[in-house]
């Protein structure tokens, strides 16, 4: 069930200048959360930030009643959230959106870039629980833009690409040698910048592999009430916060 709830900032873990992980603790924690779900976080203390910000659920711990978010500071709101102090109150609406489908067996590839890696901790864990064999392919500009690989390595093989070659293969994720070989994946999951996701969807399509993408979008409400967050599709405009954020890329006509 969706809730509006106050949490306390329990810990702030800075990954580097622009990336950090927030862990919030509440008196209560909704347990019915799935990989791909997100929260709408209210940004306290900044007049210019009027609307909540959609952020994927990175992880949660029902025992400790904590929920965490991996955030990349790209603008006013995400920078401000990085300035909060432990003990500060943070109000969130959660869990929102649909989720990735988790098969019962098989072999899958997860392709992530930028802040788009956030949903893949929960996804990797869920896949592992089902006995699915998972490969993570994470891309960034330099090795300083690659995060969470230690987490991911608990759930599968981790491959990396960087544009400057400072870690893993040099180039974009879609240029990884993996895509040159025979791709016997049952599904590809992707989240990250639009051009990356579209390229991944195309590669998947060419090989007849099912592909699910989690879209970013400007959102006002996050609960399907305002119809601000749409993405075009052959079947008409899709509402990203409720029909998505996860879409089978065929539905999007990608």
């Amino acid at each position: 069930m969706k809730r509006v709830q106050d949490f306390k900032l329990k810990s702030y873990r800075r990954l580097n200048r622009e990336n950090y992980i927030l862990t919030l603790q509440g008196d209560y924690l909704e347990k019915d959360m799935h990989p791909g779900n997100f929260a709408e976080i209210q940004v306290p203390g900044l007049p210019e930030v009027f609307l909540r910000r959609p952020i994927s659920i990175l992880d949660f711990d029902p025992a400790k009643k904590t929920i965490s978010f991996y955030i990349k500071a790209i603008g006013k709101g995400t920078r401000q959230l990085g300035r909060l102090a432990e003990g500060d109150t943070v109000n969130i609406v959660y869990p929102l959106g649909n989720s990735f489908s988790v098969p019962r067996k098989g072999k899958v590839l997860i392709v992530g870039g930028g802040s788009g890696i956030a949903p893949f901790v929960l996804l990797g864990r869920a896949l592992q629980q089902q006995g699915v064999e998972t490969t993570f392919l994470i891309g960034g500009r330099t090795r300083n833009d690659i995060f969470l690989t230690e987490e991911f390595s608990r759930y599968g093989t981790v491959l990396v690409t960087t544009e400057d070659g400072s870690r893993g293969e040099k180039g974009l994720v879609t240029g990884h040698s993996l895509f040159a070989g025979s791709m016997n994946f049952d599904r590809i999951y992707t989240c990250g910048p639009d051009p990356m996701m579209k390229a991944v969807a195309r590669l998947a399509g060419q090989r007849g592999i099912d592909c699910e993408a989690s879209l970013e979008n400007l959102m006002a409400c996050g609960i399907g009430a305002c119809l601000c967050c749409v993405t075009p599709s052959p079947g008409g405009n899709r509402v990203v916060c409720t029909e998505g954020p996860v879409f089978n890329t065929k539905v999007l006509g990608w």
């Binding site: 509006v4 009027f50 609406v93 409400c221 009430a225 305002c226 119809l227 993405t231």
Partner: protein, 303 residues
């Protein structure tokens, strides 16, 4: 005990707080947060004759204490509303008020005629103020003759309470209010959004696909409040006031200025439970300030 009941034209509402059209979906989106039946009314999202895809993305931009939207009346058309949506929400213990839109007067009439046959719908809100459609919409609401013409036409097709939603993008909103009052409106609601725009300085492009959009939120409250006050003094029919209401205090200010009922719009996005907080806050205010009936607040500003 505070009596929260209020009368908007012929419509009896159990409390003065409604959800504004386009900001509350059809109500079901909020079921996890509270029982939509607690509201005085739900002004459901704008309905047109035929299915509309709405405008292209991006449709939204954040502004100082507000937001611009350019949704453009995305909806599945009146038939879908009547056959599929209304049956699923009519059990809420509140008034479901469709927001009627059209590109032409005939459109408005046709949508209204269809709704007129539906049992359980006791009022419609005639939207002549949507700034986000190429044809019709706000064009009807910014000229007195056309506002009058569409109101008269719809009046003939509608037997129950007719609320006309006015545009604030006018020189003299009292002129339009008097016009639609004369044309048979039972109440007016105001304000719809202000035509605004936003530019991304970095890319030098407009932030909305449509360039302009509708401004809502607390930014517009002082102007909306002034218009409600002016209209309250200009017409005899009741006013449903809105524009930037974020809490009970804001709602009370609108009632003091002359609004018989209020509508909560953008605030639903910031706090999905805001409307019940507003209802509770109005009740507490009445208790504290010795008002037995919420209706006594209406126009109670002391000059």
């Amino acid at each position: 005990m505070v009596d929260l009941k209020i009368q908007l034209g012929g419509l009896q509402m159990k409390n003065p707080v409604g959800a504004a059209s386009g900001t509350f979906g059809f109500g079901s989106e909020f079921e996890d947060f509270f029982d939509p039946g607690r509201l005085g009314a739900i002004f459901v999202k704008g309905i047109t004759l035929k299915n509309r895809e709405g405008n292209d993305y991006p449709r939204m931009a954040e502004t100082a204490s507000g937001m611009l939207n350019a949704v453009g009346l995305q909806n599945k058309g009146v038939d879908y509303f009547i056959e599929t949506i209304f049956p699923a929400i009519k059990h809420y213990d509140t008034e479901i008020i469709p927001n009627v839109n059209g590109s032409t007067v005939d459109d408005y009439i046709e949508v209204t005629e269809k709704l007129n046959e539906v049992k359980g719908i006791h009022a419609i809100e005639l939207n002549i103020s949507c700034p986000n459609v190429k044809e019709g919409g706000m064009a009807f609401g910014v000229s007195c003759p056309s506002a009058v013409a569409v109101t008269e036409a719809v009046r003939k097709a509608w037997d129950k309470t007719l609320i006309v939603k006015l545009s604030p993008n006018v020189t003299d909103i009292t002129e339009i209010a008097r016009g639609v009052e004369g044309a048979g409106a039972d109440a007016v609601s105001l304000v719809n959004t202000f035509l605004g725009m936003a530019i991304d300085a970095r890319t030098r492009r407009p932030k909305l696909s449509t360039v302009t959009g509708g401004l809502s939120g607390p930014a517009i409250k002082p102007i909306a409040l002034r218009m409600v006050w002016q209209v309250y003094h200009a017409v005899k029919i009741p006013v449903s006031g809105m524009g930037g209401i974020m809490n009970a205090e804001d709602a009370i200010e609108f009632m003091l200025a002359g609004a018989t009922t209020v509508q909560i719009g953008t605030a639903n996005f910031i706090d999905p439970q805001v409307s019940v907080k507003v209802i509770d806050g109005i009740k507490a205010y009445c208790r504290e300030h010795g008002f037995d009936r919420v209706s006594d607040l209406v126009g109670a500003m002391e000059g």
